[in-house]
Symmetry: C2
Subunit: 309 residues, 2 copies
């Protein structure tokens, strides 16, 4: 059976002819021989499906919440991380990321404490309504477009091509599961039950209207690094056939996506297009080394994509 | 649009005419007006979809593993819970359950410690292969049939009727998620990604063949009581339209399944047929009280089911 609809040439119109496009077309054609239920494809979100610079979209959402909290309680204006949010101190956030890559998570913990406090006691419905509103109404700071238009067009075509060939696509993000769910179907064609991501611990309290689930001020799990394969297995019960990522935190998930007896494809998005998007390899050093050593398919934004957005 | 295939009369042939069957038919007919993606139905497993007496099927699996462990390390024969398994001391297990219902979990913790030790370091593939083999090869101790034939025929018809009407059925069990996954599609028509259940914490270790996920000697979560709504939300992102259970541990899940503006159905299976199955209400006292107070639909094995298996 040939790969379905409209032929891969048309389906992947924003992909330039070259090794990355060839690898995708070959993989999907080979996967046709296997059972439909095994066709599981997993995608990191930030930097893989949508833009993560100058800062991850969810961080913008969180910083705005910090400002809102400090407006309600001015004493927070003098404390980190609220202070950095109120003063738009992006240098503090930049330093935090540099320290993190260098192995020092002191300020990451300061930020994480603020994030957990930010939604403590909030119902999951309220959280999703806030996320939904933010994502629809907020513009990217430099790209001149709304956040929901910061999705990579070639990756959307890849998701469509996989769906047309009976793959189940999952988001496997280090970002918040419940942050992405309100828009995942509309933007990616991925139903909310196929969004895997980090989550706060949740608690259930009964009442006479069916009970309420609320965020607690503690992490359930951070879906990054070696936790990604664990969460993929826990949710899907399978080892995927395709994985796409862009950073060191995706290495275990890419590693996990291999089979002795089935086709598999590992894609690593390389951000090398300062003109149309951003050029950076910070946080992707080991992933790029592994890609070179193992023959994973590197997707160059500059060379492989006709259009970015 | 009328409820699909073959008409509910034929679809629910093992259900006697009466209020339970009427409630199911009415609910499915009313749900037709709502969006397909909201049609989520959740089912407890032990005592709701298959027989849980004289002991939960997974407990038999675990006791056999204890004996295997004691064969490999005879010093375990003198220690609980291995001692009880080796000596077939079902009185100890019965007492443990009575103490549990009375609020004393001392021996539950002794058993839980044994269970966590029993699979410590075992790969998820090995665990599933063992579960698969056990479920296919083992006979129920008193019913004169294999464990996989201890599924309730009327509940299978209900699952089929819901699937035919575009519901997504999920198992939401206090038992082990990975214990049920190998047989969920074949036995219930429920794909493994829709099995929600308790799980040990899992760890990922990389290697040159795609890495291995193994069980750790600690619990990730016990999917029972107030944890059931939390895990339903985490997996599906929705509040279900239908929930079916049979015990106190299902009350929060049944409670959670209500809507101001959508149809919903709560089913509670009442085991009142000593002749064809078992008659018991131990562990279901609060659930039965709530059903009476809230008008949940009680399903009597004796009165509502033409056939049980």
């Amino acid at each position: 059976m040939a790969a379905t609809t409209a032929g891969p040439g048309t389906a992947l119109a924003s992909w330039r002819d070259g090794p990355a496009k060839d690898a995708i077309i070959d993989f999907v054609a080979n996967a046709e021989a296997g059972p439909v239920e095994e066709r599981v494809a997993v995608f990191d979100n930030d930097g893989t499906l949508w833009c993560e610079k100058p800062m991850p979209i969810q961080l913008d959402f969180i910083l705005r919440r910090f400002v809102e909290m400090a407006d309600a309680d001015p004493s927070l204006r003098e404390r980190l991380p609220w202070k950095a949010a109120c003063e738009r101190d992006y240098a503090w956030l930049g330093k935090l990321m540099e320290e993190h890559y260098a192995g020092d998570d002191t300020n990451v913990r300061v930020l994480a404490g603020g994030i957990l406090a930010a939604y403590d006691g909030m119902s999951v419905e309220e959280f999703e309504a806030r996320s939904d509103r933010f994502l629809r109404d907020t513009r990217h700071p430099t790209l001149g477009r709304g956040y929901l238009e910061c999705v990579y067009a070639p990756m959307l075509e890849l998701l469509d091509h996989l769906s047309a060939n009976h793959f189940s696509n999952y988001i496997v993000s280090g970002g918040g599961r419940d942050f992405m769910r309100p828009i995942s179907q509309e933007v990616y064609g991925i139903p909310l039950q196929r969004v895997i991501g980090s989550s706060a611990a949740l608690g259930y309290a009964s009442d006479d209207r069916g009970g309420t689930i609320t965020h607690k001020a503690e992490l359930d799990y951070l879906d990054d690094g070696p936790e990604k394969p664990v969460r993929i297995w826990s949710r899907t019960g399978r080892r995927p056939l395709l994985a796409a990522g862009n950073s060191n935190g995706d290495v275990p998930m890419l590693d996990f996506t291999q089979h002795e007896d089935k086709p598999s494809l590992r894609l690593l998005v390389l951000h090398d297009d300062q003109e149309r998007e951003f050029a950076y390899t910070g946080g992707a050093e080991q992933a790029l080394e592994r890609a070179a050593a193992e023959g994973w398919t590197v997707v160059s934004v500059k060379d492989d994509w006709v259009t970015v957005f």
